[in-house]
């Protein structure tokens, strides 16, 4: 039976900002390089810091937008070793990806000290396609699509202290294809999906006017993609029930903001992402697979990612009445260790630069545009350094994103 419809329309996949987690989920967030946590003000408060909903003026808020992402070719120059004597030139380029990601946020009117909101976002995902060469043996396509519905609530404990939290409802799809082609007579087609649950917590403290301090936490969610896999040996395939689990890791954000002269705001953010939850990539099958395929498709592949630190700073300025300019910078650490790096995600440390504009058209409506450039460092693997047998340099990783959004207050 053909897969009926997938999330490709609304949740195409993206590699950005530390492996496959995507923190930028609104206009302000993208324009401020995801430093936007302590000083959230619009409907996206529901997602980034639900505790702050308690401090928002009485009204309803909504934001809807799209992000267009362009992922350039990832270039690899080097060699692939299958054994000590089987070493082949493997210089190659991955496919360009052009993707569209939606986001939708809503914050309700307060009900006494309570308030609720909800967000529909794409909090993570990745796609990497190598259509030929040795890379195709490992990752012809590796796609993880994630869609999150996040209903949240806040409680105003006092005039300067609030707490919030919510439920994370995750729908995810995974596609894993690899094809040995003329190199190895093996091929895999796998797709699966899952619905998982998690939670998020937030607290916000405003010790003095114009200063906000926040702590937010998103729980780890193991995405157990369950579906089918077609495994081929020399053009003869069999189908197996299969599952594979990858984590959407927990993340702790410590944030602060200071507003000057009611016009200028400085925001800083530190994020600790607990990527160490991703220990291995281990496909499980409903029955024994063919012995000749076990090494390639059944043997657990260690990933052993490490927890990461990300530092972000964002500034915004209301330059004229109703027009706000924003800019951001982030230093993003990759969780991937060289020893365990693989073609499906040759991630590296990155510098992220962003800018944006928000225009208040009238009392209720505003709109904006944001741009973000993710500049990945080159990453070089020396011979013998990597367990997959990769030696060489990955370069040109990164992404360019443009977000267009509309906010409505009523």
């Amino acid at each position: 039976m053909k897969k009926i419809i997938t999330l490709s329309i609304i949740t195409s996949s993206l590699i950005l900002a530390g492996a496959y987690k995507v923190p930028e989920q609104s206009l302000n967030s993208m324009a401020l390089g995801a430093a936007y946590v302590a000083n959230t003000q619009g409907a996206d408060t529901a997602y980034f810091n639900p505790a702050n909903m308690a401090f928002m003026p009485s009204s309803q808020y909504m934001e809807a937008g799209f992000t267009w992402a362009h992922l350039p070719k990832n270039t690899f120059k080097g060699f692939q070793a299958y054994s000590a004597t089987e070493i082949y030139p493997a210089t190659n380029e991955s496919e360009v990806e052009n993707l569209q990601l939606p986001f939708l946020h809503y914050v309700s009117n307060p009900i006494d000290k309570f308030r609720w909101g909800a967000s529909l976002t794409v909090p993570g995902g990745l796609t990497k396609r190598w259509t030929d060469g040795h890379q195709k043996v490992f990752a012809e396509e590796f796609t993880l699509k994630i869609l999150e519905l996040n209903p949240v609530a806040s409680y105003k404990v006092s005039d300067n202290f609030a707490i919030g939290g919510g439920l994370r409802l995750i729908y995810s799809e995974g596609i894993v294809n690899s094809d040995g082609g003329a190199i190895k007579p093996i091929k895999r087609e796998m797709q699966g999906d899952t619905i998982e649950f998690g939670y998020n917590l937030a607290l916000s403290y405003r010790p003095i006017k114009d200063v906000s301090l926040s702590v937010t936490y998103h729980s780890n969610i193991d995405l157990k993609e369950e579906g089918e896999a077609n495994l081929y040996l020399s053009n003869v395939g069999k189908q197996y029930d299969t599952s594979v689990t990858v984590p959407l890791p927990a993340a702790l954000n410590l944030s602060a903001s200071k507003t000057f002269m009611d016009k200028y705001t400085l925001e800083v953010n530190y994020e600790r992402t607990y990527w160490s939850a991703y220990k291995e990539l281990d496909f499980n099958y409903g029955s024994d697979i063919q012995p000749a395929l076990r090494d390639s498709f059944d043997k657990s592949k260690p990933r052993k990612w490490k927890d990461t630190h990300t530092f972000r700073v964002g500034v915004s300025a209301e330059v004229t009445k109703g027009v706000t300019l924003m800019a951001g910078y982030a230093k993003d650490e990759s969780p991937v260790q060289k020893k365990y790096l693989s073609y499906e995600l040759p991630d590296a440390d990155a510098n992220i630069y962003s800018a944006g504009i928000r225009v208040q058209s009238n009392k209720n409506l505003s709109w904006g545009l944001a741009y973000l450039h993710d500049e990945k460092d080159d990453i070089t693997l020396k011979a013998g350094e990597n367990i997959t047998g990769i030696s060489g340099t990955f370069s040109n990783g990164g992404a360019d994103l443009i977000a267009l959004s509309m906010q409505y207050e009523f």
């Binding site: 039976m1 053909k2 897969k3 009926i4 419809i5 997938t6 999330l7 329309i9 609304i10 309803q60 909504m62 809807a64 939606p102 939708l104 809503y106 309700s108 009117n109 909800a118 529909l120 869609l147 519905l149 729908y171 799809e173 007579p185 087609e189 796998m190 797709q191 999906d193 579906g227 089918e228 896999a229 077609n230 081929y232 040996l233 020399s234 053009n235 003869v236 395939g237 069999k238 189908q239 024994d288 063919q290 012995p291 000749a292 395929l293 009523f410």
Partner: protein, 423 residues
């Protein structure tokens, strides 16, 4: 509140597009009457065999394409059984050989206990070339036919009638007939040559098959090379039951279980307890030989032995003993074959003595067989030392492939001469 409801409704269309079906089934080559389970090209096959040291760079190696084919056969009771087998063809033959068509070798497999060891099951589960078909097909260039036998493959729910000539012959002959239709339906060109072989139980099955083919006269066999089979079951049983211990108790337990089932006898009248109660489970096709052997005793008979002493005593004394009669009835050494037969056997065989083949050759010649002779494997390969039953298998197949190749070569030369004269 109304406005809130409207706002949230905006998210509903997004949720509606979620949903997921199933992955399409693998896109395998479609064939009529079976399915492809292994498909190794000639270069891949050569690379594989070279990596294992089986061939060198200069050796011609053909690809290996195997089909699992279901078919209907009949058991010892005459009841229809849905069975299966493996049909293996060489890929990458020279065009002139393709024009002449493939010579068929019906290769009956040796004793197996686990269903996972049946030819079509190995092919389907592993997806890789296996066993004697590699020698016969990828090195020899023959089309190899391997019936799973009743009790294995698609008929795994049926007991296996171990060393019982009627069902083994039926399973093999019906598979040969089915493969001919399959080949015709799928554009696989076969020539008129049909060779029959098999090792150990397969050697016995090959002989039973040849005997039945000659009785029925529906198929023509070019040559048969039964290898190391217990053709005279009565003599074999006398030898085994008179020995104090059984080197491989599972073999004789298998005989006892299969014959008790076919001949409607209480299993405990042949096999002592607690073994009799264990055998239906031990022999259900889920276990391999080592796991079965450790559940049995190596003592042949007596109160602590495997075989019921009452049966054994009666077997030796009474020529009308049912088990003895069954052994005689199922022996395949005493008839007069008109097809050339080469009895391939290792002189050092420690399970099926070489003398069984000598006895068979002598008996058949005495009964006016047309062309029967023994081929000692050690002599054919110029070996200095004798070879045991388990080590002999691969060598015996090499000898058989050589014998069949010579017979095919003569046919090919004749066909090419006829072709040239027509041109």
């Amino acid at each position: 509140m109304k406005r809130q409801t409207r706002a949230m409704a905006l998210s509903i269309p997004l949720l509606l597009v979620m949903g997921c079906g199933e992955l399409d089934q693998p896109k395998n080559e479609e064939v009529k009457g079976g399915k492809v389970v292994v498909n190794f090209s000639a270069p891949l096959m050569k690379k594989t065999l070279m990596s294992k040291g089986v061939v060198d760079e200069n050796r011609t190696v053909f690809g290996y394409k195997a089909f699992k084919i279901p078919y209907i056969t009949t058991d010892e009771s005459g009841d229809e059984v849905e069975a299966s087998g493996l049909f293996v063809i060489p890929i990458g033959l020279p065009p002139k050989l393709n024009q002449i068509g493939l010579s068929m070798v019906s290769d009956d497999h040796g004793t197996i206990f686990s269903n996972n060891d049946a030819p079509s099951v190995i092919g389907e589960n592993n997806g890789t070339p296996d066993g004697s078909a590699i020698i016969l097909t990828s090195i020899g260039g023959f089309a190899t036919l391997q019936a799973d036998y009743i009790g294995f493959g698609d008929s795994n729910d049926h007991y296996h009638p171990f060393v019982q000539k009627e069902s083994l012959a039926n399973a093999t002959i019906d598979f040969i007939k089915t493969v001919k239709i399959f080949a015709s339906d799928n554009g696989i060109k076969l020539n008129n040559q049909l060779f029959i072989t098999g090792y150990s139980e397969g050697g016995y099955a090959a002989m039973a098959t040849l005997q039945k083919i000659e009785e029925e006269r529906e198929l023509n066999v070019t040559m048969a090379t039964p290898m190391a089979g217990p053709y005279d079951l009565n003599i074999t049983a006398f030898g085994v039951l008179s020995a104090p211990t059984l080197s491989v108790p599972s073999f004789m337990a298998y005989v006892g279980y299969a014959y008790a089932t076919t001949y409607n006898k209480e299993l405990s009248s042949i096999i002592n307890e607690p073994y009799a109660s264990k055998l239906p489970t031990l022999l259900d096709g889920s276990l391999a030989r080592p796991d079965i052997d450790k559940e049995l005793t190596q003592t042949t008979t007596g109160t602590e032995g495997l075989f019921n002493p009452l049966l054994v005593q009666d077997f030796f004394k009474n020529s009308n003993n049912w088990f003895r009669e069954a052994m005689v009835e199922n022996s395949v050494h005493a008839w007069s074959p008109q097809t050339p037969i080469r009895l391939v056997h290792c002189q050092g065989d420690d399970v099926i003595p070489f003398e069984i083949s000598q006895l068979t050759e002598g008996t058949m010649k005495a009964m006016n067989a047309k062309d029967v002779s023994i081929v000692p494997v050690e002599v054919a390969l110029g070996l200095d030392t004798n070879v045991t039953h388990s080590e002999c298998g691969v060598m015996a197949y090499k000898v058989t492939t050589e014998i069949f190749s010579k017979a095919r070569e003569a046919m090919i030369k004749q066909a090419l001469i006829e072709q040239m004269s027509r041109e």
